[in-house]
Structure formats: C-alpha cells, structure tokens
Amino acid sequence: MSFQDRTTEFQACVANTRARMRNSSSNATTNNALQAKHQKSEFTTVAKKIAYKINETGKYLQRLSQLAKRKTLFDDRPVEIQELTYHIKQSLSSLNSDIASLQQIVRQTSKGSRNKPAQINQHNENIVVSLQNSLADTSMNFKDILEVRTQNMKASQNRTEKFVASTSLNTNPLANNNTTASPFNYDESEPNEDYLALNLGEGANTRYEQMALLENQTDVYSQQRMSSIESIESTISELGGIFSQLAQMVSEQRETVQRIDLYTDDIASNIGSAQREILKFYDKVSSNRALLFKVFGILIVFFLLWVLVT
C-alpha cells in the first residue's frame, strides 16, 4: 500500500471552510437568518430549559412517590417529604410561568417575522403544547402522590393511636431512651402491652409514639384549661338566665300585690264606715234625748186621742 499524504489537501479544505464561514458570517443577508437563528435559539433554549426542569421535577416526584408509598410506622422522614413537596410545588409554579412566557415568545416571533415559514411557527406551537401536556401530567402525578401520602398518614395515625392507647404512659417516654431493661417498668401489671410497645419499637416506632404523646400532653393541658374556662363561661351565662327569670317572676307578682293593696283599702274603708254607723247607733241608744222625744211623743199621742174621744 502506498500512503498518500493528503494533509495539505486537508489543510486546504479546512482553510476553505473557515473562509467560507467567515464570508457567510459577514454576509448581510445572513444577518437576518442569524437573528432568526438567535430568536429561534432563544426559543429553543427556553424550551430546552423548561423541558429539563420538567424532567427534574419528574425525578423529584419519583422520589416523593417512593417515600410516600412506604407504609411503615417508623422512619417516616416527614421533614424530607415536606421539603420535597415544597420544592416540587415551587418548580411546578415556576414551570407554569415559564411556559406562559414561552407562549408569549412564540406569539411575538410569529407576529414579528413574516418571512418565517409557517412550519416553524407550527413546530414551535407544537413544542409549547407538548410542554404544557407534560407539565399537566406531572402535576396530576403530584396530586395523586399527595393523596396517597395523606391516606398513609391517616392509616399510620390510626395504628399509633391503637398502640398509644393500649400502653401506659410510663413505658413510652422511658422506653424511648432505654428500650431494654428499663428499671422504671414498675407497671408489671401490664406486661403484654410493654412487650407490644418494645417489640414494635426497635427504636424508631417509639419515637413516633413519643411525638404523638408530646402533642398529646400539651394538648391535654391546653384542652383542660379550655374546658374549665368554658365551664365557667357556661355557669356565668346560666346565672344570667336565672337572674332574668327571677326578675320576671317578681314583676309578675307585682300586679298581684297591687290587687291585694286595693282589696285591703276597700276593707279598711268599709270597716271604718261600719264602725261609724255603729257608734252612731250606740250614741243613739245611749243618749236620753231620743227616749224623751219618744216618751213625749207617746204622751202627746195619747192626749190627742183623749181629746178626740171626749
């Protein structure tokens, strides 16, 4: 075989293409094309960014779904889940705004340059539509995952309620730090529940229970305070009702008292006048004048009779 040394040819080619590129770049007509390319590349860069973000969000979503599906009582890592949810929400909203701005760009470019072929516009619009679809899919997945997560949390809370209710108070906070051979397990009357708490514990379960207990304790205190104050409030309102009832009864009795007053006035006047009459009578009876009149009257009557007869 004979080697042909074609390096010079190659170098000539390279120089040629370089010159051509420089020539074409200095061409005025290709400025527009370049601008169009810039615009197009602007569109494409933005579209690329959005697609990349959607991809990333999809990855986070996968991680979140993995975490949410874990139906375990322990090792829940709520902090991580919350962070992920927050992150995904933020990225979804930013993606939304990005796609809206991308649509704006598409409309501007389609209005601005008329020498662009319609296919490119159509292509851009298609890209925007597809990005929107993928964003909608991711947000639907996100919603589903959140629902699954809330269901799991409810189920786990039910389960922990069962365990917290069945174990006595002193096992849990102490079992947290010292799961074996706790010297304070005085509660030997309930050994079964002890074992239950310890077996399922394995360190992390009791942490969850302890968290529920923590909230339980502060809840208990504040609830008790609230209930006692509520009872005071109800007592006071009851007292107010009783007072108004009392006032009503007393006002009803006022009329009765007035009637009695009238009657007694009547009685007093009647008896006063009766007493006067009787006094008059007594005077009449006790005084002699009436008798004298009566006697003289009878004598005169007799005289008149005598006179008339004779």
Binding site: S168, L169, N170, P173, L174, N176, N177, F184, Y186, D187, L214, Q217, T218, V220, Y221, Q224, R225, S228, I229, S231, I232, T235, I236, E238, L239, I242, F243, Q245, L246, M249, V250, E252, Q253, T256, V257, R259, I260, Y263, T264, D266, I267, N270, I271, S273, A274, E277, I278, K280, F281, K284, V285, K294
Partner: protein, 197 residues
C-alpha cells in the same frame, strides 16, 4: 388530693442539678418518710433527664404522679402528687413557680455548678396548693359561681312560695272586703230603720 413535693431543677448545662425542693411527707408514717423522700428525689431527677426541653409530661408510678415541665430556657419543675390532683392546676403552679424563680434568681446564679438556692416560696406554695380548690383562681371562681347558683336556686324557690302566699292573700282579702261591706250595710240598716224601744 395531695401534693407531695415540688422541685426545681436545672436542665440546660448537663448534668441535671437540683436547685431547690420542698416536700410534705406528713401523710407517710415516720419510718417511711426518708425512703419515700429519697425515692422522690431520685425519680424527679430521672424524669427530668428523660424530658426534652419545651415539653410537659406526666409520669404515673404506683401511687404517685410526677408532673414535669421542662422549660426551653433550661429550668425544669417537677411536682409529685397523687393521682387525683388535677393536671391543669399542677401545670399552672409550675408555670408560676418557674417564673418567680427566674425573676428572683437571674440566670447566672444557677447556670453553673452544684448550687442550691433558697426559695422559701416553695414551702408556702406547697402548703397553699394542698387544696387546689382554694388556691387556684379558676377553681375558686368556679366554686364561687356554683355557690351563687345554689343561692339563686333557693331564691327562686322562695319567690315561688311567695307567689303562692300572695295568691292566698288575694283570696282572703277579697273575702274580707265583701264581708266588711256586708257588715257596713247591716250597721247602716240597723241605724236607719229598727229603732229599739
């Protein structure tokens, strides 16, 4: 319901240090008192160690309940009482005590080392709160309201009785009124016509 002991401990710079305590073990027989007291201090310390800051807890153990309140500034108060003592009163008392303690002894006094600070209010509070109904404001208000309600009930009953008596009075006064009228009429009649001789 009884309070057995109140203690204030320092939690923040470990190890847990007992700052002051007051106890009333008069309900135990003389020979039991020392053991019970030791047990209580020991239990208080352990329970404090197991409580995280900013947490309230009740630990129940045979006859006693230990109410623990671990404040987030490093102080911790423990009350040992029997099971019937109301939770809310115990925690209110702990809040009050810890606030007073902090105002009386600023932080640097108890922050370091094994100090035991005098705090005579603990004893007064312990004796006062033996009867939570009198000492705690909310319970006292509730009690007074209940008494007032009782008095009002009795008042209403007596007002009802008064109503009945008033009705009776009306009837009788009506009767009397008509009788007196009759009396007057007969007196007048006697005066006018029948002249006895």
């Amino acid at each position: 319901m009884k309070l057995y002991s109140i203690s204030i401990l320092r939690f923040d710079p470990k190890p847990v240090q007992l700052l002051c305590t007051a106890s009333d073990l008069s309900s135990f027989s003389f020979f039991q008192r020392s053991t019970v007291g030791e047990f209580m201090t020991f239990f208080t310390k352990t329970v404090t160690e197991r409580t995280s800051p900013g947490q309230r807890q009740d630990v129940e153990e045979s006859d006693y309940v230990f109410h623990v309140y671990n404040r987030s500034d490093g102080l911790c108060g423990v009350i040992a009482s029997d099971k019937e003592y109301p939770l809310r009163v115990a925690y209110t008392l702990l809040n009050k005590l810890l606030d007073e303690f902090v105002t009386k002894n600023p932080r640097q006094k108890w922050e370091s080392g094994a100090v035991t600070l005098p705090f005579p209010e603990l004893d007064t509070y312990l004796s006062k709160y033996q009867d939570p109904k009198q000492a705690d404001t909310i319970m006292r208000v509730q009690q007074e309201l209940d008494e007032t309600k009782d008095v009002l009930h009795r008042t209403i009953e007596s007002v009802l009785a008064r109503g009945e008596k008033l009705d009776d009075l009306i009837a009788r006064s009506d009767n009397l009124s008509s009788q007196s009228r009759m009396f007057y009429k007969s007196a007048k009649k006697q005066n006018s016509c029948c002249l006895i001789q």
